[in-house]
Subunit: 370 residues, 2 copies
């Protein structure tokens, strides 16, 4: 039985500005300050705009519920608890992740403008949407930026089948002569959101993506998704899989680096101990490297363009599929959806309007079916 | 036909101090300054000590030949060409990679002591051995360190079968209460050195590691190794393989990040254009983050220990194999080999003594067969 009843094709177009209006109002009605609601809405809608539907408004309900029931502190104001010039630590006071991480980014950018490079860590935070939005913000200010976060424990480190690590995105962005080149992907082979998406589309999951509670590979999507949500011993596998043959130790080590940065180094919980004692306890980190401190920024930007263009010009393994650089597809989808609207699953539209009734705002104005 | 005639078991024990003495003398006799020879020898022998035989003294010949024929500039002194406080750029002037990268590390450490974080890039460099030696050096000085390098083009970016990227190691080290936790691994699924090693041991290579010139997966080790060396259109695949199913786009994006940092951002060649015009042209980068700038370093070190110990205590997927943290095995092997000697393949011992005759130094004193 699929997780949702959506026929794959039933989606409705929603104008990006209308969706942003709606999400902002919903978050504000749930108790968030207007400015916090606005940045959180912008990050969520950016995911839908870029085709990362798993990280967009489909997640609105858990934000609204978290704000209303107090799991997320609606009064929190991120606080700088340590300031050593190029290295700072913020305490998010269990507020929304997006405003806290945006503040970390802006601080990291300003410190890298001053010192050349900077690192800003966030502790006691919550889910912050797509890391790419934040890394691109720094890249538009002239930085090579790396951004990551830990998350609810779902990934088994190499050698064990216990889910201890988060899906811990590896994310970076770098300025080009036009819009930033940006990569943002989980350090697990797939994310739970990807499994949910395949389920909606009626497509299979593959061996080597996840383990069941018996430690064996599983390809049952609904069981795996439910087993991950309800912590029944299911685990996603790191990039490279569950053994050394295809480099599982490397994916696991990448994920561990993010655990270290977002956990003990940030003074936050590592993923295994997040969501305990009534708060998320997540950690995020940001590194910025100012292109101006390395040399002539225009020359570097042109060099990045050239490298990207050479890779795009490589002989494609599949003649139907041009070689792409990270972010190429997302940029294209964003342009199309800004212009023509965002296709949102009918089940998500229904959910949004349930939320509207619940918090007492106008429903979202959905356009035609597509 | 295997690449070498070694029966898998024929190795001879060499004392670590003797091997270091020998490599230092050989490099010095080939024209390197004593201090440059010493650090290069230390890094090469550290690889053998840790069981990373593919990056150790088996590579001595190419260093000696490079120094003698002028491909590596034996008179080079690394020069700081840009100094912006926490961000510096060194020009290695086509000298040995090890002395240049060690200088970059020491500079990065001292700048992170001053500013909290630092980035140092190296351009116009050559092969520098194992990145882990350098990252651990910074970690012993109290830094979380990331170190990488580009390399000869052998890896096909996602979507093409043209070898454009290097095997670009992802490497980091972080202080603990004892010796640093360190990971160092190629961002390709396997390295060419690993293929050569499997060939010596008579073990097979797997599908999804490399492509032949026809763009199809290949499992012929000698053909692949020769095809990579002689640039006949063979390519290694990134971590995650050649398609998105197992995350090839993620491994490719990690490798691209290293290309960007070591190429256009460092003012160096990216891997595709290395080893042209009579010099390596490689780029390296170092990031340091001073634990003291984040908080109480002892608390952070204890937190790292605790995280590592919890992972090690996870239920093992294979009851015979305890869960390991990156560097655990290498540390164990290093201790054993420091004590009992380094087992070196007989063919490598023969090669070392050929080199000794060639440059006019005493042969290496090899002990018993093992």
């Amino acid at each position: 039985m699929p997780l949702t009843e959506d026929p794959a094709g039933w989606r409705r177009l929603i104008d990006a500005a209308e969706l942003t209006r709606f999400v902002t109002e919903a978050l504000h009605a749930a108790g968030a300050r207007t400015s916090d609601a606005a940045v959180t809405a912008e990050v969520l809608v950016a995911a839908d705009l870029g085709g990362v539907d798993s990280h967009g408004v489909a997640r609105l309900r858990r934000y609204v519920e978290g704000l209303r029931n107090g799991d997320i502190n609606r009064h929190a104001v991120p606080e700088t608890v340590s300031d050593k010039g190029s290295v700072c630590v913020l305490d998010a006071h269990n507020g929304l992740g997006q405003p806290a991480l945006r503040e970390a980014i802006d601080l990291a950018v300003s410190r890298a403008e001053q010192f050349g490079t900077s690192a800003v860590m966030v502790r006691r935070s919550n889910h912050m949407g797509i890391a790419g939005w934040f890394a691109e913000r720094a890249a538009r200010a002239g930085m090579l930026a790396m951004v990551s976060t830990n998350a609810v424990p779902q990934v088994a480190p190499m050698g064990t089948n216990e889910p201890m690590f988060g899906t811990n995105p590896l994310c970076y962005a770098v300025p080009t002569t036009t819009s930033p080149l940006c990569f943002d992907g989980a350090t697990s082979t797939v994310s739970r959101g990807k499994l949910e998406q395949l389920d909606r589309l009626g497509e299979p999951m593959l061996n080597g993506w996840a383990l069941g509670p018996d430690g064996q590979s599983t390809t049952d999507i609904p069981e795996t998704v439910q087993g991950l949500i309800h912590r029944k011993g299911y685990a996603l596998l790191p990039l490279g899989g569950g053994d050394k043959d295809h480099g599982g130790h490397k994916g696991s080590a990448m994920s561990l680096l993010i655990e270290l940065l977002c956990g003990p180094l940030a003074g936050a919980q590592w993923s295994r101990h997040t969501y305990q004692n009534g708060e998320g306890g997540l950690g995020h980190f940001v590194f910025c490297l100012n292109l101006n401190a390395l040399g002539d920024a225009d020359t570097i930007r042109a060099g990045v363009d050239e490298l990207a263009q050479e890779v795009r010009s490589g002989t494609p393994t599949d003649r139907q599929a041009p070689v792409r650089i990270p972010g190429d597809r997302r940029r294209l989808v964003t342009e199309m959806r800004k212009e023509g609207g965002i296709p949102v699953l009918e089940s998500v539209v229904t959910d949004l309007n349930d939320i509207a009734e619940f918090v007492g705002i106008n429903p979202v104005a959905a356009l035609t079916y597509v």
